[in-house]
Symmetry: C2
Subunit: 408 residues, 2 copies
């Protein structure tokens, strides 16, 4: 945890990935995040992966360091409490991140009626309010028909396993919140910012030229197996059967690869034969089958250790493929030996390396990541500190079943 | 383009995706972005996809709306100009986004020597300075061994086609810049913020519980084909051969699906037989083979139109699979009919729908997206306005080959 955003207070009424990871990013830079949940847990409280005993490792990861208040949101009194928490006073408050629907009890207009400078960041499926999650939006993008081995039938989609749209939406929502907060500081104006997964996906494919490609560049990109599109890159196998990913996007990366594998003469021979220069990434891509043959043959004569040494000597851009467990245990600087991670014991009962911010602010102190809360662990603290309720008022809310503490 | 960040001025000395898309996000909310490039173009100037005539649709997409100055960075005078542009005075300036190496001529310390409150956002491959791009970092994560059909050999990786780590890094870098700028406003302090792809990947897998899963939850996740992990979701085919993605992560999504396909009786029969409740997503996942059979059979009796109507009536979370070209032309609100996109003619000579910000700031005016610059189009403007060079000084830089205008 850094102190960069210290003093900022964000309320989260959200579930699953985009909203919670947005607030996790804010928290890791120093913001205080108060998450409210239904008593017994929201729809993501048991999301897999889970530990043997049933605690959700997913929930722990996304919500570590947050303050948790458990509210009976099925009751009017509970919904009123949630609104009061979201709109609580304070110059650095009035920041609410949610995936509740546009027109529900957490509609921006209702919050702004309580606090005119309210900022609401609303993660959505489709911009028009249609149901959508990462995996359904991804089906629309066409990417599943571009993913996977080339011998698959054209109409066989291959889904991604990383919820990339959710994750991009999460960091983009954190960016949007910071922009809205800066704007409020300069103008006094709050407002609602909507971040739909559908627009995250469509703008991404627009910004990277893929929509233009589909319209003016010759239609849909074919399935390429593991080949990198538009330059040189693929997986290869070493003499001792290890698999590596090698990429030569820039001219320098290409020159390094040619040097590492001593391919100068055969590459020049192909260039002469074809009348092209492989200094251009487009030519490396067009004629990749020829180049892949050379590289594959060279690697089959090298052990992994020798290939790695040659690659690192000349500056090739490459990596070994790993299982995640191998990467965690054995890839230097990934988790082991990475100051971004600190061991932390979480409520499910396990101690494991727990990440802080992905960014390193050089010269500032990076404190350790904090553990996940138990559900409702901060119920009384939030009611007392934020809403200034007395001990007897808080006790009455417990007695009425409007709120609950941990273990309820 | 919104005006939310109007007045903020960001200098970009970066190539490929993460740095340029970070600045594209800032620009779309109103920041002025000045990108400097080598005369003739940086290493990403010809990156595919390209138009027939050779202009890069990728470069256009990532750099639209930016001011472009072309500098001979191989010369000392050119590097000095780049440093002066990055560190130019102005309360809302001194913001530099780059993927140049830590210790090179654009090292933060060198910039901070000119402008003590300088903020440098540096996108990197590995945090320790090792070479790495999206595709090599992804090989380490283990995700390629979890992607694709279950009949693949275990050691056959399947690469992603979306450079997800680059894209997450880009929006996270924009968030980091906003946080650093807020911190500077409050404390006067600038600094360097490093955003390595390796830490973006490792923290993401940590935040979503996958690292904990690999350590305490039973090792590496197996390849699941198109099945969603931990809940219910997969692709299915309708009677008329259309492919759809259906997801039931929440209890409500599951209830909607059971209702839409009239599966109440057979689902209850399986629950009774197994002694479980499919209201729990973990049970839906464990016994998914049984449920998939029911759903697949039901869909084979429904046309796509009938399935769509039933799904939308009960609120199922689903989508048809599309090719990207189909999605652009035919998915309502994705590109067609989406106010985020405006047609714009770009330097490669084509007019196509061009995206603005993924976020919608309700109540604020969203101006149209701007076209991409020609390389060096704003060379004289930047030298005159930012560095206050006279016309004769600018002419001398052109004559010396230190800078170039468009078409050079």
């Amino acid at each position: 945890m850094y102190d960069v955003l210290k003093g900022m207070r964000v309320v989260e009424g959200a579930s699953f990935i985009a909203g919670p990871i947005c607030c996790q990013h804010l928290l890791q830079l120093g913001a205080e995040v108060i998450r409210f949940d239904m008593i017994g847990g929201g729809p993501d409280f048991n999301r897999w992966p889970v530990a043997d005993e049933g605690g959700s490792l997913y929930w722990e990861g996304l919500n570590k360091g947050k303050k948790s208040i458990a509210i009976n949101l099925a009751r009017r009194e509970g919904r009123e409490l949630a609104i009061r928490i979201a709109t609580a006073p304070g110059k650095n408050g009035g920041l609410f991140v949610t995936n509740y629907p546009v027109g529900g009890f957490l509609a921006h207009e209702r919050l702004a009626a309580r606090r005119p400078d309210m900022i609401t960041i609303r993660v959505m499926g489709w911009a028009d309010g249609r149901n959508g999650v990462d995996y359904t939006v991804n089906a629309v993008t066409g990417l599943p028909s571009m993913t996977g081995m080339t011998d698959l039938p054209e109409d066989q989609p291959v889904n991604h396993v990383l919820p990339a749209w959710d994750l991009i939406a999460g960091s983009y929502a954190a960016f949007s919140l910071m922009a809205a907060e800066r704007h409020r500081r300069l103008t006094g104006q709050g407002g609602e910012v909507r971040v739909p997964l559908s627009d995250i996906a469509a703008t991404t494919l627009g910004h990277t030229g893929q929509i233009a490609e589909a319209i003016v560049g010759g239609g849909d990109r074919p399935r390429l197996g593991n080949d990198l599109f538009g330059a040189l890159g693929r997986d290869f196998v070493t003499a001792d059967g290890r698999r590596v990913m090698i990429v030569a996007i820039t001219g320098r990366q290409w020159a390094s690869l040619v040097q590492a594998l001593a391919l100068g003469a055969p590459v020049t021979a192909i260039e002469t034969e074809l009348g092209v220069s492989f200094a251009r990434e487009g030519e490396r891509y067009r004629h990749r089958a020829r180049l892949f043959d050379l590289i594959a043959q060279a690697l089959l004569r090298l052990s992994f250790a020798d290939a790695a040494a040659a690659f690192d000597r000349t500056g090739v851009c490459w990596s070994a493929y790993r299982k995640l467990s191998d990467a965690v245990a054995g890839e230097p600087g990934f988790v082991q030996g990475n100051p971004v991670f600190t061991p932390q014991r979480h409520p499910a009962g396990f101690t494991y390396p727990t990440p802080g911010a992905a960014a390193t602010f050089t010269g500032l102190n990076r404190g350790p990541a904090r553990r996940a809360p138990r559900l409702g662990e901060h119920t009384d603290e939030v009611l007392g500190d934020m809403l200034k309720l007395s001990a007897s008022e808080i006790a009455a809310l417990h007695d009425d079943g409007v709120v609950a503490g941990p273990g309820a």
